[in-house]
């Protein structure tokens, strides 16, 4: 029997090796099964190219972009949307003839929603795969870890949807195509105060997430400045599923709304438990809510709540409707804001690659920095001197299985 374990291991190793081989000749480099398998054990991290020779960066007839995002873990739908948006943009660019006569390819790594994995994935993209540009991630905590590596290596990075201000402060190679947390917190404070006429709001934040803490910070400051009152700030940690203690404490203060700047994976459950404890007030939140899973997890409990977001798929603009229908055709399902932003980020990158004189990091960086009035799906993109996009936000109301557009708040 003692021989069984080595045999089992060997069998496993063969299975893993089998997966690797299957995906390699395809060389579209968009395989994710390999990355997912990587999560199960260190043994699967075989170098993607044989003999460890890095692919020649310029000599080939393709331009390789790198993506690191959360395909597994608590916020997996974010990563999947991001990957889909990027792939759609690249497909369209390649159909239109590519860039400088070369096809664009992308290599996608899973960071499991963890900053340490994100940093590792970027190191691998830069040193092993020699990508010329990096796209990702959604969660600010992961993007921060990635930005550090990208900046140090001088590889330009565009985050589609990390809204924490510190991400682009990592250095001059880091850009984003979305607005930043101070603005999002401001949007909800203004909407709550002016449109909903709220005067007392409680806050429930995720104290493991830079994003959530950032939003809480700005929201509480702005809301108080506008004459409102914050009854208290409670915290939970990502991965919790029981929020009754916090909600019972919140209930005592009798707020008119609860600001929950967390992710959909927790918010849906929070809404259910709030209703269960007899808290009937609406919840307010940010773009972390944006996922089809929110409606499943929150059920009827989450209906009637509001969140700020980057775009609304209901916008009648033909350009947006074309994107929505293309996305539906390719992946089935309405693209969320993360897909739209990923699509925008990839297009900004493609635009910069076209304008850059060569594909050195410096040249691409300079070209991205020039981006002005670029027509994105989630609003026109102009990058300011801090490499952040300045653009309006929308407020959506959660309904039955979808969200309805309520209003637009300008910077």
């Amino acid at each position: 029997m003692r021989r069984f374990v080595p045999m089992l291991l060997a069998a496993l190793a063969f299975m893993v090796a089998g997966c690797e081989k299957k995906t390699q000749p395809a060389s579209s480099d968009t395989d994710t099964s390999k990355q997912a398998a990587q999560g199960q054990g260190g043994t699967a991290t075989a170098p993607p190219t044989p003999e460890g020779t890095p692919p020649p960066p310029a000599a080939s007839d393709t331009l390789l972009l790198g993506v690191a995002t959360s395909l597994t873990g608590g916020q997996a739908t974010f990563g999947v949307s991001t990957r889909n948006g990027i792939e759609l943009a690249l497909k369209e660019a390649n159909e239109a003839g590519g860039v400088k006569g070369k096809k664009l390819t992308v290599r996608v790594y899973d960071n499991q929603g963890k900053p340490e994995e994100a940093a590792q994935a970027v190191t691998r993209l830069i040193n092993q795969d020699r990508v010329i540009l990096i796209l990702g991630d959604v969660a600010s905590s992961n993007s921060l870890a990635m930005a550090e590596k990208a900046q140090a290596a001088g590889v330009p990075m565009i985050t589609p949807s990390s809204t924490n201000p510190t991400v682009t402060e990592k250095g001059d190679f880091i850009f984003r195509v979305c607005f930043i947390d101070p603005f999002q917190g401001f949007v909800m404070a203004k909407f709550g105060r002016e449109n909903l006429k709220l005067s007392k709001v409680a806050v429930l934040q995720d104290n493991k997430s830079a994003y959530s803490i950032g939003l809480t910070d700005v929201f509480t400051r702005k809301f108080t400045e506008m004459g409102g009152k914050i009854t208290g700030v409670e915290s939970y940690s990502q991965g919790d599923t029981d929020y009754r203690a916090q909600l019972t404490a919140i209930k005592k203060a009798q707020p008119e709304a609860i600001y929950v700047p967390g992710y959909y994976s927790e918010v849906g459950v929070i809404a259910r438990q709030a209703r269960e404890l007899g808290l009937k007030v609406p919840l307010l939140g940010g773009d972390g809510w944006d996922s089809e899973k929110l409606y499943e997890l929150g059920g009827t409990a989450i209906q009637g709540s509001y969140f700020s977001n980057h775009y609304s798929p209901d916008n009648p603009d033909p350009r947006i409707q074309k994107f929505v229908s293309d996305y539906k055709a390719a992946y089935g399902g309405v693209p969320d804001a993360l897909a739209a932003l990923a699509y925008d980020a990839a297009n900004v990158a493609i635009d910069a690659l076209k304008k850059a004189p060569d594909t050195s990091g410096k040249a691409i960086r300079d070209a991205i920095a020039q981006t002005k009035g670029f027509p994105g799906i989630a609003g026109a993109i102009t990058l300011d001197e801090k490499r952040n996009a300045v653009k309006p936000a929308v407020v959506l109301k959660v309904g039955d299985g979808k969200s309805e557009y309520v209003t637009t708040v300008n910077p």
């Binding site: 997912a36 873990g73 499991q112 915290s235 029981d242 916090q246 459950v269 899973k293 499943e296 997890l297």
Partner: protein
């Protein structure tokens, strides 16, 4: 006052579930001196089995009493089988090896399950959390004042089920032949084998019972918190492990006391102090207990019981 009562109810509700999971840790430790880190993930697998069964019975239909029993039976039976397989193929071959080897293997199994279940192939559910179907339709069992305190039917039910399972376990360990065999194996499994006790069978059965308990706990947990995700086992498992250590690992009533203590402490820290401190206080208590009584509240350092 009403708030205090509500906190007490919330704390007991999470405490009983930690207790059921902690029992599995403590039983396996008692028999094998192995901390089975995969225990929380076995629980997660059990919840997905229950989820699948609930959907097979019909997505929207109200579950009958028989349906609920069936869901519990499938999940607990399935997990007993899983526990058996894990013990048979991962732990038994390593039994005579240094204990560290088994411990690392346990961590490996834990990761294999929690990350394997995030794949989106075949029967595997994928990474995104899902809403657990309301197999027990939530109704208010008791309302005090203007919904100041609400007690739900499932809270009462899970408390009853948990207490029932604990009493049953205590009976099994101390009043039956099998329990005596378990205690003998725990005392010294080589000597027990010499006395004619089928140690392999006893250990396998212990694993199966522990895993079935985990599945039951997992279902109660999913009913309580309405969501299920592949990573849920890691968090609950860690909490339950802490509870088992506080109570004295290897000690059945100790695990229950430790778990209830942990559930209540977490609840009251969040309710009356700062919610940010919850985990700090919980682990602070663990350290304090271990400083004063290294064997846990009920455990003895030298003599080990089941």
């Amino acid at each position: 006052m009403a708030q205090l009562l509500q906190h007490l109810i919330n704390g007991l509700a999470s405490g009983t579930i930690y207790a059921l999971v902690a029992l599995g840790y403590t039983m396996v430790y008692g028999v094998l001196k192995l901390i089975n880190f995969a225990h929380g993930d076995v629980m997660m697998v059990g919840v997905y089995m229950g989820y699948a069964t609930a959907f097979t019975l019909g997505r929207q239909e109200q579950k009958t009493f028989l349906g609920v029993v069936l869901i519990f039976l499938v999940a607990m039976g399935g997990c007993a089988l899983l526990g058996f397989l894990i013990e048979r193929f991962a732990y038994r071959p390593l039994r005579e090896k240094p204990r560290l080897t088994s411990l690392i293997t346990a961590i490996g199994i834990s990761f294999t399950l929690s990350y394997g279940f995030q794949l989106d192939i075949g029967f595997l559910p994928g990474a995104a959390p899902r809403a657990f179907p309301e197999i027990i339709v939530p109704t208010e069992w008791l309302i005090i004042g203007d919904r100041d305190v609400v007690v739900w039917n499932w809270q009462v039910m899970s408390l009853l089920i948990a207490v029932g399972l604990m009493v049953g376990l205590q009976y099994l360990v101390f009043k039956t032949r099998f329990g005596r065999a378990m205690r003998a194996v725990s005392y010294d499994h080589r000597v027990a084998a010499l006395m004619g006790i089928p140690t392999d069978r006893v250990i396998a059965l212990t694993f199966m019972i522990g895993s079935a308990l985990a599945a039951g706990a997992g279902l109660l947990y999913a009913i309580k918190d309405t969501s299920v995700s592949p990573l849920m086992g890691l968090y609950v498992g860690l909490k339950a492990f802490v509870a088992a250590v506080i109570g004295g690992i290897g000690h059945v009533p100790g695990a229950v006391v430790g778990a209830l203590l942990l559930g209540l402490v977490e609840e009251f820290v969040v309710g009356y102090a700062a919610s940010t401190w919850r985990d700090a206080v919980a682990f602070g208590i663990l350290i304090l207990v271990l400083l004063v009584k290294p064997g846990g509240l009920f455990g003895r350092v030298a003599a080990e019981k089941v």
